[in-house]
Every structure is written in structure tokens, then in C-alpha cells.
């Protein structure tokens, strides 16, 4: 079976940053969105999710604040910072390169085109 979490390990940070680009979100909602966007192929483990949140927050890429829900437990929301947006863009460029390299090595695509 395809082990997604192994495959995407280096991109967990960027995936989370991408989720926060448009709106602030909290752990479960963010993970649910990832789950739905990938048709259930990818879902982060809670442990991975929160470890990544902490790492990104310590690096200043995201900020967190507590929601003021009237009922139930408090939600912790995360929002992306300017540094975070920059990191996201850099990582996207990197990914384009990585994608090209892997395609090239595995499928030999770009060679044929030449």
C-alpha cells in the first residue's frame, strides 16, 4: 500500500502552510481539509500535526491564538505570518525542481523531449 506519510515527510510543513494561506484554521479542520482535498489518500497523524505546528510557530512562520467558543472546549487557531508566506513560496519553487528531477530520473521524460 502507498505509504503517504513517508512519501510526503519533507513537505508536511509546506502542506500546512498552504492550508493557512486563505484562512486561519485549527488542527482538526485543517486535517479534515487535507483529507478531503486528497480524496482520503492523505491524513496527518495528530502527533505529526502538532509537532509541525510547534516547529512552525517556533520558527515564526505561523502564529496561534485561542478562539472564543461559547460552548465546548477551546480551539487553538493558527494563522500564517509574512515569513511563513515567504517560506511557502520558496518551498513551492523547490518542489517544482524536485518534481522535474524525479520525473526525469524515474520516467526519463525530459530527455525524450529533447
Amino acid at each position: 500500500m502507498l505509504n503517504m506519510s513517508d512519501m510526503i515527510r519533507g513537505y508536511t510543513d509546506t502542506i500546512i502552510l498552504a492550508q493557512l494561506l486563505t484562512h486561519d484554521s485549527y488542527g482538526y479542520e485543517l486535517n479534515k481539509n487535507i483529507h478531503q482535498a486528497t480524496d482520503g489518500l492523505l491524513e496527518l497523524k495528530e502527533a505529526t500535526l502538532y509537532t509541525t505546528f510547534r516547529r512552525l510557530e517556533n520558527g515564526g512562520y505561523i502564529k496561534s491564538y485561542w478562539g472564543d467558543e461559547a460552548t465546548g472546549a477551546r480551539r487553538r487557531y493558527y494563522s500564517i505570518t509574512e515569513t511563513g508566506r515567504k517560506l511557502y513560496e520558496e518551498n513551492c519553487l523547490d518542489w517544482q525542481t524536485v518534481k522535474k528531477v524525479i520525473d526525469h530520473l524515474l520516467l526519463g521524460e525530459s530527455k525524450d523531449e529533447r
Binding site: 485549527y26 482538526y28 495528530e46 502527533a47 505529526t48 502538532y50 465546548g72 472546549a73 487553538r76
Partner: protein, 220 residues
């Protein structure tokens, strides 16, 4: 909030000192896990399925919890509070004893109203001492109190080999004390004063216990 989810998450944090970081992580996990659980129910899972799926989704939570464990800075602060508290308690206890000593000592002098004055003195000292103890206790953040009991639990003295030896020594010690007490009492027939052996023996046993604990600490 589902009670089973809540108690599961609480159980994960049971042994963790209640630092701000740890409590925030707990709250965050709780609200998210609860929502996940509710979603599983909405999807038509029954309660026990929803519960197992929720717990399974968490993955290796130990790694996460390790992150909120006390760091060096926290330990240093905990040590600061521990020293301060020990000093304050010692001062307070000294004041209680001093108060008692004033009352006892005052009976030597034959002055009018000295008894009342000494009792007032005792009460004042006791009031200050009590205030010190309450202040000390209340001004210690709960996270540090937890940390102390956490550390104690970690090296549960009585269950170590040396602790076992200490227990054995003390039980022999108390048998000997009993024999000495009875022997002296029957030989001298001074029952009115021989009881003094017990409080002295009590203090000695405390000292013996402390010596063992100190040795334990140095061995480490």
C-alpha cells in the same frame, strides 16, 4: 464534550507537570479530538468504533508530550521555588517553637501578667508563621508543585534497594527502642519521665531516614 475522550486525553497528561505548554496542548488536543469523535458519530459509526478510530488517529503521542516536558530553565526555576519554600517553612517552624519556648520560659519569672503577655507573644508569632506558610504555598505556581511531586515519584525512595534497607533498619531500630523503654522503665520505675524516650527516638528515626536518603542522592 465526550467524557471518554476527555478522560483518555487527561490520562495521557496525568504524569506530566502542569506547565502552561502542557495544558495548552491538552486543551488543543481535547477540542480537536472531540470534534473528530463527533464527526465519526455523524458518519454513522457507533460509539466504541468512533472512540477507537479517534484514539488510533493520534499516532505516537509520546513524542509530542516529550516536547512539553520541563526544560532546563523550568527545572532551575523549580529549584528556586524549592529552596525558597524550604527556607520559609524552616523560619515558620522556628517561630512556632520560639512561641512555645516563650510561654514555657516565662513561667520561671514571677512577674504580674507575664503569662498573658507570653501567650500574646505566642499568638503573634504563630500568626506570622502561619501567614508565611500560607503565602509560600499560594505563591508557588501549581506547575512547580506538580514538578516536585513528579520528581519525587520518579525516584520513589522506598522502592529502591537502599530504601528497603532503610525500612529494615528502622523496623529493627523501633524494636530496640521498645525494649530499651521497657527495660529502663521497669528497672528505674520512673515511668513519669521515661516517656521522653519516644520523642527522642522519633527524632532519631527521622535522622536515620534522612541519612539513607542523602546517601541515595550522593550515589546518583
Amino acid at each position: 464534550m465526550n467524557a471518554k475522550i476527555e478522560s483518555y486525553i487527561n490520562s495521557l497528561f496525568l504524569e506530566i507537570p502542569r506547565t502552561k505548554k502542557a495544558m495548552e496542548l491538552r486543551d488543543e488536543l481535547m477540542s480537536n479530538m472531540d470534534e473528530r469523535y463527533e464527526d465519526y458519530l455523524r458518519e454513522g459509526k457507533n460509539e466504541s468504533q468512533a472512540y477507537s478510530l479517534t484514539v488510533a488517529s493520534m499516532g505516537d503521542i509520546d513524542e509530542l508530550i516529550a516536547e512539553v516536558m520541563p526544560d532546563e530553565n523550568f527545572k532551575k526555576e523549580a529549584q528556586h521555588y524549592r529552596t525558597r519554600n524550604a527556607r520559609n517553612i524552616a523560619i515558620a517552624v522556628a517561630m512556632y517553637i520560639l512561641g512555645g519556648a516563650v510561654v514555657v520560659g516565662s513561667s520561671i519569672f514571677d512577674v504580674d501578667n507575664i503569662m498573658i503577655m507570653s501567650v500574646v507573644c505566642l499568638l503573634v508569632l504563630a500568626a506570622i508563621a502561619t501567614a508565611i506558610i500560607i503565602y509560600t504555598n499560594m505563591s508557588t505556581p501549581v506547575a512547580y508543585k506538580d514538578f516536585d511531586s513528579y520528581e519525587l515519584k520518579e525516584r520513589e525512595f522506598d522502592s529502591t534497594p537502599l530504601g528497603q534497607v532503610a525500612k529494615l533498619v528502622l523496623s529493627i531500630y523501633w524494636s530496640i527502642v521498645t525494649i530499651i523503654y521497657l527495660a529502663i522503665s521497669f528497672i528505674t520505675f520512673s515511668w513519669h519521665i521515661t516517656w521522653i524516650i519516644w520523642p527522642i527516638a522519633g527524632i532519631l528515626s527521622g535522622i536515620i531516614h534522612t541519612i539513607f536518603q542523602l546517601r541515595q542522592a550522593y550515589d546518583k
